[in-house]
């Protein structure tokens, strides 16, 4: 299969999953928001006052995150996907993780919330966010590319 076709089919499935969340829960499918929301009720007891502690993990967001993690492991086997990327150092990975986590919550969304759903909602705010994070990411890859030096 052509990689562009494979990418588009994967994208359509991502879009359908977002449609399911919209139809079922009336919410956008933003992974950064869902992830923070999944763990929220545990810390803050419960907003509705019925469930607290670990029982509060029985919420649709936590189930979505479990599906994402388990599904990721499962479909990596099913589709026999492997990464061509060599392992990176812990320092870089921790810095990158902190920036992604802090930045997506501060900026109210990531590739899914602002990208997949925000653009689908035709939100100008999300379009601006997408342009900013895409530009910052491309600039970062360019700078690290220059530092690594050309060749090829």
């Amino acid at each position: 299969m052509h990689p562009f076709l494979q990418a588009a089919i994967g994208g359509i499935v991502i879009g359908l999953a977002s449609w399911l969340v919209l139809a079922a829960f009336g919410r956008v499918t933003g992974i950064s928001g869902i992830t923070t929301g999944a763990l929220q009720p545990v810390a803050s007891k419960s907003d509705s006052g019925q469930r607290g502690g670990l029982a509060a993990l029985a919420n649709w967001r936590f189930a979505f995150v479990v599906g994402l993690i388990v599904g990721g492991a499962w479909f990596t086997q099913v589709f026999a996907v492997s990464s061509a990327m060599p392992s990176r150092g812990p320092g870089l990975l921790i810095l990158a993780g902190l920036l992604v986590g802090y930045g997506t919550v501060r900026g109210s969304g990531c590739t899914s919330g602002h990208g997949v759903c925000g653009l689908g909602r035709r939100s100008a705010r999300s379009l601006i966010a997408v342009v900013v994070f895409m530009a910052a990411a491309m600039l970062t890859v360019t700078v690290t590319g220059f530092m690594a030096g050309g060749a090829a």
Binding site: L22, I31, V65, L93, G97, R106, T111, L119, S123
Partner: protein, 167 residues
Amino acid sequence: MSTAQTSVQVDASDSAKGIVIGLVAGLMFAAGLVFSGMTDPAKVIGFLNVAALFTDAVPGQWDASLAFVMGGAVIVTLIAYRQTKPNGEHSPALDANKPWFAQRFVLPTRQDIDWPLISGGAMFGVGWGLGGFCPGPALAAWTTNSDLVWFVPAMLAGMWVANRVKA
């Protein structure tokens, strides 16, 4: 669903049925991410490497394929949001047009372009360019890519701190 409608404020999103649907949506999302190549940081960085189109001073080549992931996904969500017509919060029309498990649609309403949006987006972009993972693929590849042993806990810590600062 029927039980939720009897008492006004109870939300059935976290009922057993809601949890099953949430799980299914997460599995579907993961399938799309893995199949499309989003869980491979080499492919993501290849897509972000637009500079390779213009200069030989950076290594590698531009890989356009991830543009098709976003394209495919957005075509579907454009249809989804158009079909659903979730038009704002307290619209009377929503009584006839409710989500399956919730009393109403709760979608972002903000339209202002403020500093946290720009600076947060920029921080996220730098982290995405450094690591090659955004939040969804990071969770989906958590158990299969050893780099994420470091990345995911740092990401969750970053989310927690940002949430604390915001509140």
